[in-house]
Structure formats: C-alpha cells, structure tokens
Symmetry: C2
Subunit: 325 residues, 2 copies
C-alpha cells in the first residue's frame, strides 16, 4: 500500500519504520521541521528496499506528484492536534481512508464525521520514552491494537486496515469507541488516579516514605507522570473515568466494611479473591486460532470476549481469530 503517516513521534515514527520494513511505500510528515530533518536522515540510512520519504508539506505527504492520493493516511498526532489535521486533509481534497492512534476514541469519532472514510485505532504500545528518536520498527509485535467498528464503519475499510496492522505483528482488537474508552478507563486512566492518591500518602508521612519498598514502588510508578498529561488523558475521557472510579470507590468502601466487621481477616478474604483471580489470569493467553467469516457483530463479540485478530483475508472477508484460552 501507499501510506502517509502524519506525526512522527514514538508511535508515528515506529509506524513509519514498521510499514517500510513490511514493504509498503511510506511518506511521513511532522509539523516540526527538526523532527522532519531527523526522520529524513534516518530515511537516508534505511536499508535498501525500504521506501520512505519525508516531504516538506502535508500536501506532498498525502498526494504524489502524479496526483494520486495515498491509499491510507495514519494520523499519529496528540489529541488536541487531531481536529486540525482532519481539517487540513479535507482542505487538501483527500477523500481516502484515514486512521488514527489516539488513546481516546469517542472524541476522535466526533471529529472524524467530516472525513469520508475513517477507522479509529489505538495501539496499546505506550512507553516511558517519546519522540522519533525512540521509534522502533518492532514496537507493534504482539501489541494489542484496537480498531473501532461502528454502525457507520465500512467493513471493507475496517478489514483493509486490520490486514495492514496484523501484517505488522499487531493483535487487532475490534471494539466500539465507547467500549474502548471504558476499557482504557479501567486499565489505564483510573489506575493513574489511584496511583496518585497512594503516592500522595508518602508526601505527608516522611516515615512512611522511608519505609516504602516494592509494593509502593510498583503500585505508584505511573504517579510520577506529568500531571498535565495525566489530567488531559483522564479529563478527555471523563464520563468513563467517572463511571469506573465510582466502581473502585464502591469496592474500597466494601473493603472498609470488611475491616469494620467482627472478623476482618475472614471478611477480607472473599473481598480480595476476585482481584487475585483476575490478576493471576492476566495477561490472557490465547487459545487455538480459528477462521471466522466476519460481520460487525461477530467481530465485536470477539473483542468483548477478550479476543483478537491475527490475520485477515480481505477477499474472502474472513479473519483468523484468537480467544482467551
């Protein structure tokens, strides 16, 4: 495929490299001239046979000199910049397929209504580092990559995008934007809030900070993230973060009741067991792959069951699906 990647940070840069390794023709663009220069230098040093270029404008990134448009534009800019890129693509007359990599999907779905063809995505491939310099072509090997499937998503577009991403080694997870946003509230956004609340205890009790060891270190690691970034992440998904936070507070209130009971130890065991079982069962191990003729409902059921797609046969509209064992 002929693909344009807009935004060359960790995710966009890694996508650019991964697509080039997979044999696609790739054009990359970043609004920052210094990032473009770095990416251009890397392109010049890429192994023979890897075709990626870094034009100086968005127009030259999404459209070739002969007027042909890219088959796909992957938008890999931070959420606040996504609307501007979508507008710019419209202004350039780009009517092809667009995908994105943003960590919250319902707001992007709202912005994408102005596009002709859109499939929202989110690779669960965050790292402690950022920027094109940290980009790696194998970042997406084995990585869960949510691809959103809504009532108005064209199945041909979804399958084409899924085929591309499984070709990079990603485990493609079908979900609606709302299902995705609730899930990441549970496994990322609310854990950031909880970590901040626990870490704050060590700020007011210096004896506690000195005694803290492994459980504190791991349990609060993400609390060291920049407050502005965590606030943007949680605030940008406020409805689902609220819903999940209420569940956690209700659960902790039940733990408080167990501590108040006549036999706190006996009362805490059943309270602790669901979390222990869930954590011991994680990460889910996949069962045997099966070939599935797809409809939107079949794909969404696979995602809801914790399953993923490892390969796509676009012509036969069949996928290879793995469900947790």
């Amino acid at each position: 495929m002929d693909i344009a990647v807009v935004g060359l940070g960790l995710i966009g840069g890694s996508l650019l490299r991964a697509l080039a390794v997979a044999g696609h023709t790739v054009y990359g663009y970043d609004a920052d001239p210094a990032t473009r220069a770095t990416a251009r230098t890397a392109a010049a040093q890429a192994p023979t046979g890897q075709r990626w270029q870094v034009p100086g404008t968005l127009a030259d990134t999404v459209r070739r000199p002969d007027g042909r448009a890219a088959d796909l534009v992957a938008v890999a800019v931070p959420l606040p910049a996504v609307g501007g890129v979508f507008d710019a693509l419209g202004g350039l007359g780009y009517a092809g397929l667009v995908t994105d990599v943003t960590s919250v999907k319902a707001p992007v779905r709202g912005l994408a209504t102005k596009l002709d063809r859109f499939v929202g995505g989110h690779p669960m491939a965050g790292r402690e580092v950022s920027g094109f310099g940290a980009a790696e072509p194998d970042l997406f090997h084995g990585c869960a990559w949510v691809l959103c499937l809504e009532p108005d998503t064209a199945m041909a577009d979804w399958l084409a995008t899924a085929a591309l991403l499984t070709g990079l080694g990603a485990r493609v997870v079908p979900a609606t934007a709302d299902e995705h946003d609730r899930a990441v509230a549970a496994i990322s956004h609310v854990p950031h809030l909880v970590a901040a609340a626990v870490a704050a205890l060590a700020g007011t009790d210096l004896l506690a900070a000195t005694l803290a060891a492994g459980s504190f270190r791991d349990g609060t690691r993400v609390a060291a993230s920049a407050p502005a970034l965590t606030a943007a992440m949680c605030g940008g998904n406020a409805a689902f973060v609220r819903e999940v936070l209420d569940l956690v507070v209700a659960d902790l209130t039940a733990a408080r009741a167990a501590l108040d009971s006549a036999d706190p130890i006996a009362a805490l065991v059943p309270w602790l067991t669901p979390g222990a079982n869930a954590r011991r069962a994680w990460p889910p191990r996949g069962g045997d792959p099966v070939q599935v003729p797809v409809t939107a409902e079949v794909l969404l059921r696979i995602g809801r069951a914790g399953g993923w797609i490892t390969a796509v046969d676009v012509d036969r509209r069949e996928v290879t699906a793995v469900r947790p064992a």
Copy 2:
C-alpha cells in the same frame, strides 16, 4: 554477641547468615525438622570462621551447655506463632533481650508484655520468594529496619539492637509501634487493597484485560498475592488500615469532583500534583551523616523526619543519623 534466631524462613534464615558473616556466634531453630535439616546442611558448608549451629530444640538454641543464655533472641516466626514462642521463652526461664521481625508492631508489643526485655523490629525486606532456601546474607544491606522505641523500652537494649543491625548494613529507623503500623498501612497494606480493587476490573471486563499493559501490570502486581496472606496482613492492622483507606477514598472522591467540574482537565492538575511530587521525590536520598547524642525523643524525631541511623556508639550513647536531603 551470642544470638539465637528462632524461625528460619527468608528473614530468619537471612538474619542467621548475615549475623554469622558479621562474626557473631549464632544458633538457629525452626519448628519444622526439614527446615532445621536444610539449615544444618548449609551450616556444614559455611566458610571457615562462620559459627552457626542448628540444635534440635528451642532450649538448646537459647541456652548453652554451660547454662549461659544467648545475649539476644531474634524471633522470626509469622505473627500467629509469635505468642507461642514468647511463652516458650518464658517457660525456659529466658530473661535476656528479645527482638522480632513481624510486619505489624502494636499486636506484638501486646504479646511482649510477658517478656523481661523486648525491642520490636521490622526489616522492610520482603521478597517474592520465601523459605530458608531463599535466604541471603546480604538481604539487609541498605534495608530500612524499624526498631520500636516505646516509653518503657530500655535505651541500652534499643542501642544494642540498633548497633547489631547497623553492623549488618541496615538503615535503622526509630519509631513507635503505632507510628510504624500507620506507615505500613500507607505504603503496603492499603496499596494491596487498592491493587485488588483495580485488578478486579479486569475480571469483569475481558476487553479491558486484553488491552491492559504496563500501568495495569505494575499497579496490580501485588493483587496476585494469596488472599489469605493479604487479609491477615490488613486485618491484623485493621485500625490503621481503616484510617488510611478513608484518606484514600476521600482523595478519590475529590478526584471524582474534579471530573465533574466544568473543566475536568484544569481541575485534575492540582489534584494530581501532590502525588506526582511525592513519587518523584521517592526514594528519599540521605543528606550528610551527623553524630547525635541520643534520647528517645531525639531518635523518634529522626524517624518522623524520614531519617535513619547508620551506626551506634553504645558506650557514648551516640548515633550516626542521616536525614533526607
């Protein structure tokens, strides 16, 4: 010193080995004959000059053939077994100094009223492994080791124990039993409850479990612990766990209010900042060591300030103290 270690699990076994390496005469005992046999084999293979023995009875562990008693008995058995060991020491007529390594200090203080001389202790040296086979002589290098200092603690006993432990490389932290129990509620017990509540979310949302990555993995690691052990730990410290859990729930309720506000992102930044600052300042780095003539109040102030003791001059009743930089 001539020291008896009762209980040869990870902590007791490591203490036995560390004391032998430091040149002390050490006798070890475990109620389990198989553990005694393992420890005896290890003793036979210990380098020349390390003197440790594993008698077949508690009596022979705390008293020598000539009738002399050990200078110190370190009780390293789980909390439910501590009272029985204290009773047995009384039954043997042992009237010397006793210390322990149990992870909750107020209940042990209650049990120790039947002993003549007692200094409660707790090394913050937990690991994922257990048993004598996992014991390491350098487990306590740099480890924070709380030594309890109560109004009825004999300063000479406290200093003798502190001198012994700093000799093993431990950072000795003076605290009352209540101060210790509140601190460990904050940095260990409540974090276990919070991890269980977050981990449970992935048990009811299989899509979320499949999308979970680093923040979930680290934030919920301790949720995989055996529910019976976590329940015993939290339930055995119920009063302080309740107090700290209430703080965390109140803090998360404030986060909920921030999410409800007109501008959730702006409201979350100041809510997140104390936790981010506390986590970034952790672990505390020590300032320059200073020599301090000690009283109980001076030592407790060092502990409350997040400081620790690195050396003890028993004769001059002076300690080398380090406070966070």
